[in-house]
Symmetry: D2
């Protein structure tokens, strides 16, 4: 029953024992893994995943990440992570919302920003390469 | 030769093979560990580390974290991580600066915000417990 | 279509970008997480998971772990991890088999050994507490 | 005061908050990181670290790892990790001993086995490439 808007992906992640810290909650640094799982699902949908990115001659390092923790996640809670494309023309900004998978109570929100870097020159691009823009816009225009 | 201001701690961390991702750079999520090492050093200096925190009846979960990545870290680069106390009266805000340990070129910056939570009532405090304020202020006033 | 023998659990795990090392394969240390996910599924089935363990007054630390790597796991490969109860009377020995989820080609095998430790005395037990033995044996005898 | 035998390296590692699990001890899977830090120190000493390995046209994946846990590691305990070269002619076997850095009480022991894989053919070698054997033997013969 996951929502599947065009520029949005949702995945469910079950927290694991190894995610926990001595306070018996998911250690704050582990949310970067939750974000990444949802981001990869979104990039798959954009037809622009890690392998496809590499083939275009650009890397897309993360240059900014923010995580706001509203409630702790406790084992073996399952959370629903939604990744939404927020910007793509000059950089790739993705917003994240983490909710309890059952109650849908908000748990965490955040964002990541990635920029294109030319793999050969190691130069940072101030506009997204045309291939990404085309992929996003063809998805936006598709009858779905 | 590490600087040691009153409300600041610096530690050197050598990046490890296990920190790297397929781009041969430290995976962005691992910086939360670098921040934590420097934060623990600062809290030790404040005489208010994890064990001491627990004994006061408050937990201090992280409620906000931001990481801005300026340059990648490559194995076996050593970085210098500086944690500086930025706020302590109502919440604990710590700023981080990561630089190359040799060139001192800026690599990353960021912050974390923690709030006190009463361990018994699980209530979030809107002011820091007096014990933290006393510890910080006694350090500020000490002849060093 | 996962097999579900009485003393065995199988789960599918999709490898993630954050699992990878610079050789573009899952870093060898991350298999401990794959084992743990399958172990928790098995312990759930035994009705003896982490929370239930804690309530009996015993902790079950891992005292031995072996991992034999046959083939690398590459992103975004999905693996099937099977955990099988091998010993329970004096200690908890679980065997693991990791296979490619599609081809079923063997990827990794290993085991973990856990022993009961009395939480109050911190003494290691040389026999499993009766509660575990009863749980396993009632499962073995159930008509399923 | 670390011992520095020819085919042995010792490093001290301070356990961190992020290493801990809900039992307030270092999570068993994290010892793979402790082993790797000591292994890299040993390989540096052999003049055969990760970069140097790559340049010879061989990768050295880990094919076997065993970890025997004798005592838990508790934050902020510092441990001394000793890596000793045990075999090098056909494969690279390294033994590890982890002790408390102050009391030298034994905490953990284990080993890893790596084999050379030709990066171009992806073929596993049943003898170590001559370059490794030369490096080890020149170190063994050096007056040091």
């Amino acid at each position: 029953m996951l929502k599947n808007n065009v520029l949005e992906s949702e995945i469910d992640i079950k927290s694991q024992f190894y995610d926990l810290d001595p306070m018996n909650i998911v250690w704050h640094g582990n949310y970067a893994r939750f974000f990444e799982q949802a981001r990869c699902a979104l990039l798959d949908k954009l037809d622009f995943n890690y392998q496809q990115m590499s083939e275009t001659g650009y890397a897309w390092p993360i240059v900014d990440m923010r995580i706001k923790y509203v409630r702790p996640v406790r084992f073996p809670q399952t959370v629903r992570v939604t990744a939404t494309l927020a910007e793509y023309e000059n950089r790739l900004k993705i917003n994240y919302l983490i909710r309890d998978a059952e109650t849908l109570e908000k748990v965490t929100k955040g964002f990541t920003i990635q920029v294109a870097v030319d793999i050969n020159t190691e130069e940072m691009m101030f506009q997204s390469p045309p291939i990404l823009i085309e992929k996003v816009e063809s998805l936006l225009c598709s009858p779905n």
